[in-house]
C-alpha cells in the first residue's frame, strides 16, 4: 500500500512538472512571439554607448540613413543633400514621426543626439567620423545640417552604423547628456523594449506607430543562455526559434553542420562578411624578415582549413579583404599553398633545416608563437592546423590560447609573433577597419610597426578617408592594399559568414549588411 502511494505521488509530481513546463511552440504561435537565444544579455542599450548588444540597439533605435546592399537608403531623414565641397550634409527629417515616449522627432532632437555623441569623443576614438564633425545646425524645424572639418567620405555609412549615431528621445537624456547613462529607451524603431530581466531575458514589443513597414511578430523574446550547448538542446526541444551569430559565438561549425544534416531545422549562411587572418608581427626578431613572412603565406594550406576545419562553410581568402568589399577589388597575386616554395624562401632567408626537423639560423631555432582567444573553439582548431603545417616546413609553432582580456593586452603591447585576427566586417570594412590600423592599442598597428613605410601607411589612410574624389580614393586604396599585401603582415585564411539556424516554420530570415544586426522585423511564422 505504502509503495503504491509513493509511486502515485512520484507520477503526480512528474505530471505537475510537465504541466508547469515553459512556453510551448503552440503558445508562441498563438502569442505571435519569436524566441531568440543569445549567450549574452542585452545589458544597457543606450545607443550612444557600447555597453549593450548591437542587435538589440538596432531594434529600438534608428539612424538618419540606412546602409543597405543597394546603397544608402532613407531612415529618419527622408532625403539629404551633400554640398559640392563634401563638407556639409543637409538632412530633411521625416515629419510626423514620434519617439515612443511621444516626443517629436525633429531637427532639434537630431542635433541634441549628435551633439551628445560628439561630447564623448574619447569613447568613440575608433570612429574617425566623430573627429570629423565640426558642428550641427538646426536650419528649420525639420532640416538639420551637419558640417564637417574635412570632406570625410564614409560620413553616410558611419551615420548608419548600429551605434553611436542612433536617435533616442531627448527626454531620456540625463542632465542633457547620454554619456553617463539614460533614463529610458524611447526610440523610433520597429520594436520597443517593454521588459528586461537582467541576465535572464528581454521582451521587445512591436511599435504599432512605426513609420515604416510594421514588424510581423507581436513580441520578440531575447532569451539569455550563456552555454552554447544548452542553446542547441533548447532548439532541439523547441523552446527557441532562432540562433543567429557570427564567428562561432552562438553555434560552432560542427554543430551547424550537424543541425543542417539533421534536416529538422533550416540553416542559412550570409554572404562573406569579414576576413579571418593571422597577423604576422613585423616588429619581432624572426618575423621582421619579409622573406620569412612571405614563406609563411605558402606554408598554410588554406583549402584544408576551409574544407576540413570549417566544413566548407567559408571560402579561401587570397587577399586580406574580399574583392567584394568596396574599394578592395584590387589586382593582387594570390599566394597559394606551396610547401616547396616556402622551404626555398626560408632557405634564402638563412633558416636552414637541421637533422631534428627544425630550421636554425646562427644556432637559433625557428620558434614562433601564435596567440588566440581561448573561448573560441574554432580558433583553437585552426591554430592546431597551422601548427602542423608549420612543422612540415621546419618551423616550431607554439600555440597559446588566452582569455579575451589577456589576448587584448597582448595586442596592445605588440607582445606576439603571430596572432589570430578578424577584420571588423561589413559595413566597417574597409574604412573603419583601416582607420583603426592607426591606433596603437590595436594589434594591426603593433604588427605594422616593423614596416619601413608605416608612417606613410598611416598618413595615406588618413588622406584616403577625406579624399572627395572617388577615383583618386580608389587609387589610394590600391596603394595601401598593395603595400600591405606585398609586406605579408597578414596571412589571409578565409572569409567568414554569419550563420542562422531556425525552426522551419520561421520565414523571412535574412541578413543585414552588418553582421551584428538581426532583421527581426522581417521575420514571421508560416500560418
Amino acid at each position: 500500500m505504502k509503495i503504491r502511494s509513493v509511486v502515485f505521488c512520484v507520477i503526480l509530481l512528474c505530471l505537475t512538472f510537465a504541466v508547469c513546463g515553459c512556453g510551448s511552440e503552440n503558445d508562441r504561435l498563438s502569442k505571435n512571439e519569436l524566441v531568440y537565444a543569445s549567450t549574452k544579455d542585452i545589458r544597457d542599450i543606450n545607443p550612444h554607448l557600447y555597453g549593450g548588444e548591437m542587435a538589440a540597439q538596432a531594434m529600438v533605435f534608428e539612424p538618419l540613413v540606412y546602409d543597405t546592399k543597394d546603397g544608402i537608403k532613407p531612415g529618419l531623414a527622408e532625403s539629404w543633400g551633400v554640398s559640392a565641397d563634401g563638407l556639409s550634409y543637409t538632412f530633411h527629417i521625416r515629419q510626423g514621426v514620434k519617439f515612443t515616449d511621444g516626443e517629436d522627432v525633429n531637427a532639434e532632437a537630431i542635433k541634441l543626439n549628435i551633439d551628445a555623441v560628439c561630447k564623448n569623443k574619447e569613447r568613440h576614438a575608433w570612429l574617425d567620423m566623430v573627429n570629423q564633425i565640426d558642428h550641427g545646425e538646426v536650419m528649420d524645424a525639420y532640416t538639420y545640417r551637419l558640417v564637417l572639418k574635412k570632406p570625410y567620405y564614409p560620413t553616410l555609412k558611419e551615420l548608419a552604423l548600429s551605434r553611436p549615431f542612433r536617435m533616442i528621445s531627448p527626454k531620456c537624456f540625463k542632465d542633457g547628456d547620454t554619456k553617463n547613462g539614460v533614463n529610458g529607451y524611447a526610440g523610433t524603431g520597429p520594436y520597443i523594449l517593454t521588459e528586461h530581466k537582467d541576465k535572464q531575458y528581454a521582451i521587445f514589443t512591436k511599435n504599432k506607430d512605426y513609420w515604416g513597414d510594421q514588424a510581423k511578430f507581436e513580441t520578440i523574446k531575447w532569451q539569455v543562455m550563456p552555454d552554447p550547448q544548452t542553446i542547441l538542446l533548447a532548439l532541439k526541444k523547441g523552446e527557441i526559434d532562432l540562433l543567429f551569430g557570427a564567428d562561432g559565438d552562438m553555434v560552432d561549425l560542427d554543430s551547424f553542420t550537424a543541425l543542417q544534416k539533421e534536416g529538422k531545422y533550416a540553416a542559412m549562411l550570409s554572404e562573406p562578411v569579414a576576413s579571418r587572418a593571422i597577423l604576422i608581427n613585423a616588429h619581432r626578431p624572426i618575423t621582421s624578415d619579409r622573406q620569412v613572412r612571405e614563406a609563411f603565406q605558402y606554408v598554410v594550406n588554406k583549402e584544408g582549413i576551409a574544407n576540413g576545419v570549417l566544413n566548407g562553410t567559408e571560402t579561401v581568402a587570397d587577399t586580406l579583404l574580399s574583392p567584394t568589399v568596396p574599394y578592395c577589388n584590387v589586382p593582387l597575386k594570390a599566394r597559394n599553398y606551396d610547401l616547396d616554395k616556402a622551404k626555398q624562401l626560408l632557405n634564402v632567408a638563412g633558416w636552414s633545416m637541421n637533422e631534428d626537423g627544425y630550421r636554425y639560423k646562427n644556432g637559433k631555432k625557428m620558434v614562433v608563437t601564435l596567440y588566440f582567444n581561448s573561448n573560441n573553439a574554432q580558433e583553437r582548431t585552426i591554430s592546431e592546423y597551422i601548427q602542423s603545417d608549420m612543422k612540415a616546413a621546419g618551423v616550431e609553432l607554439k600555440i597559446i590560447g588566452e582569455e579575451k582580456q589577456a589576448f587584448l593586452d597582448r595586442q596592445k603591447n605588440g607582445d606576439f609573433d603571430l596572432q589570430y585576427s578578424l577584420s571588423w566586417g561589413t559595413p566597417y570594412d574597409p574604412q573603419s577597419y583601416l582607420s583603426s590600423w592607426r591606433i596603437p592599442a590595436h594589434g594591426d598597428y603593433q604588427a605594422q610597426l616593423g614596416l619601413e613605410k608605416k608612417k606613410w601607411l598611416d598618413d595615406e589612410i588618413g588622406l584616403t578617408l577625406v579624399e572627395p574624389d572617388k577615383d583618386k580614393r580608389q587609387l589610394r586604396y590600391n596603394e595601401i592594399l598593395t603595400y600591405i599585401h606585398h609586406e605579408c603582415v597578414y596571412l589571409p585564411l578565409t572569409y567568414s559568414r554569419t550563420k542562422a539556424v531556425y525552426m522551419p516554420k520561421l520565414k523571412g530570415v535574412g541578413f543585414n549588411l552588418s553582421q551584428y544586426e538581426i532583421p527581426f522585423e522581417k521575420m514571421y511564422f508560416e500560418k
Binding site: 512538472f17 513546463g21 515553459c22 554607448l49 596592445k412 592599442a441
Partner: protein
C-alpha cells in the same frame, strides 16, 4: 554524586565558553588576512585595472585615458593606502562599482544572491532526501545487488564532471522526456535539473558516508548487546543510524558554503541568474571589483559556516572543546 555532576557540567560549560570565545576571536585576523589576500590577488594579476576598465567600455586605452582612469579609480595611490581605503569601504558594505556597468557591486550581489540561495537550498533538500534513505538501505542490505548498484552509481557520480552531467540531464529529462525546461528560472520547475546536477556529487558522497558509518557502527559492542537483549532489528538500526549521524551533520554543515560557491558551472549551463554567473562574467571581463567581492564573500561564508560547525561539534562532543 549530584554535586559531582553539577561540577562536571560547570567545568564543561566553562570549557565550551572559552572555546567559543577563542574561535570567534580567531575569526577577526582570519578575515583581515582573507581581505588582504583578495586585494593582493587582483593587484598581482596581469593587466592594468585602469586599462581593463577602459577596454570593457570599448574606450581606446590611450596613455591619457589610462592616466585619467587610474586617477578616477585611485590606482595612483600607494598600495597600502588603497587597501585600507578599500577595507574601510567594504566594512560599510561598499564594494565599489562594477567596471562594466558602473552599478554598485553590493547591489549586483544582492540581486543575484537569492537565485543562488534558492538553488543551493533545493540542492540541499535533494541531498538529504536522496542520500539518507539510500545510504541507510545500502547499510541494511550490505552486499546485496542494490548495494552493488548504488556503489557503481557513487563511483560514476563522483567521477563525472558537473557540466557534462548537466547537459546529459537536460538531454534526457528536458529534450527527450519533456518534463522540464532546458534552462532559466522562469518556470516553477526550472530549479529541479540544476539543483539535482549540483546535488549529485554530494548525494554520492553522503550515501557513501552514511553507508560506511552505519556499517562500522554495526560492529560496535552496543549493537551486539542490543541483539543479545533481543531488541527488534528496526530499533537497533534506529540507534545505529543516530550514532552514524554526527559525522554526516558536520560534513553537511561544510557542504552548504560549498554548494553556494560551487554553483558557478551549473549556473552557466542552466542560465541560472545567480552569483556564480555574475562571477564568471566578471572573470571574463576582468571586472576586478566584482571578483574581489566574490572571493571575499565566499571566504567569509566558509569561515562562518566552519565556525558554526566547530561549535556544534564541540557541543556534541565535549572532547573537542577541552582539546581546543
Amino acid at each position: 554524586m549530584g554535586f559531582g555532576r553539577n561540577c562536571d557540567d560547570m567545568q564543561r560549560g566553562a570549557f565550551m565558553r572559552n572555546y567559543m570565545i577563542k574561535r570567534i576571536l580567531w575569526i577577526l585576523p582570519m578575515l583581515v588576512g582573507i581581505s588582504f589576500f583578495a586585494f593582493v590577488l587582483i593587484t598581482l594579476s596581469p593587466g592594468d585595472p585602469a586599462e581593463v576598465a577602459l577596454r570593457v567600455n570599448e574606450i581606446v586605452p590611450t596613455p591619457e585615458a589610462i592616466a585619467l582612469m587610474r586617477e578616477q579609480l585611485g590606482l595612483d595611490k600607494p598600495f597600502f593606502t588603497r587597501y585600507v581605503e578599500w577595507l574601510l569601504a567594504v566594512v560599510q558594505g561598499d564594494f565599489g562599482n562594477s567596471y562594466v556597468n558602473n552599478k554598485s557591486v553590493f547591489q549586483e550581489f544582492i540581486m543575484a544572491l537569492p537565485a543562488t540561495l534558492y538553488l543551493s537550498a533545493v540542492a540541499l533538500i535533494f541531498i538529504i532526501f536522496i542520500s539518507v534513505p539510500i545510504g541507510v538501505l545500502c547499510a541494511v542490505y550490505e552486499g546485496s545487488m542494490g548495494d552493488i548498484f548504488v556503489r557503481v552509481f557513487i563511483f560514476l557520480a563522483t567521477a563525472m564532471p558537473g557540466f557534462w552531467v548537466g547537459l546529459l540531464l537536460i538531454w534526457l529529462f528536458s529534450v527527450q522526456l519533456g518534463l522540464f525546461p532546458t534552462s532559466g528560472m522562469q518556470a516553477a520547475n526550472s530549479v529541479v535539473l540544476p539543483a539535482f546536477t549540483l546535488a549529485l556529487t554530494y548525494i554520492a558522497t553522503y550515501i557513501r558516508l552514511i553507508r560506511n558509518n552505519m556499517i562500522e557502527n554495526k560492529q560496535e559492542n552496543y549493537v551486539t548487546y542490543a541483539k543479545a537483549r533481543g531488541l527488534k532489528e528496526s530499533i537497533i538500526y534506529r540507534h545505529i543510524f543516530k550514532n552514524s549521524l554526527n559525522e554526516v551533520l558536520t560534513a553537511l554543515g561544510m557542504s552548504i558554503p560549498k554548494l553556494i560557491a560551487g554553483s558557478v558551472i551549473v549556473e552557466n549551463i542552466f542560465a541560472w541568474p545567480g552569483v556564480g554567473r555574475l562571477c564568471v562574467s566578471a572573470i571574463f571581463n576582468r571586472d576586478f571589483p566584482i571578483i574581489q567581492a566574490y572571493v571575499l564573500m565566499m571566504a567569509v561564508l566558509f569561515v562562518i559556516c566552519n565556525l558554526i560547525v566547530d561549535i556544534l561539534s564541540a557541543s556534541l562532543d565535549p572532547r573537542i572543546s577541552q582539546d581546543g
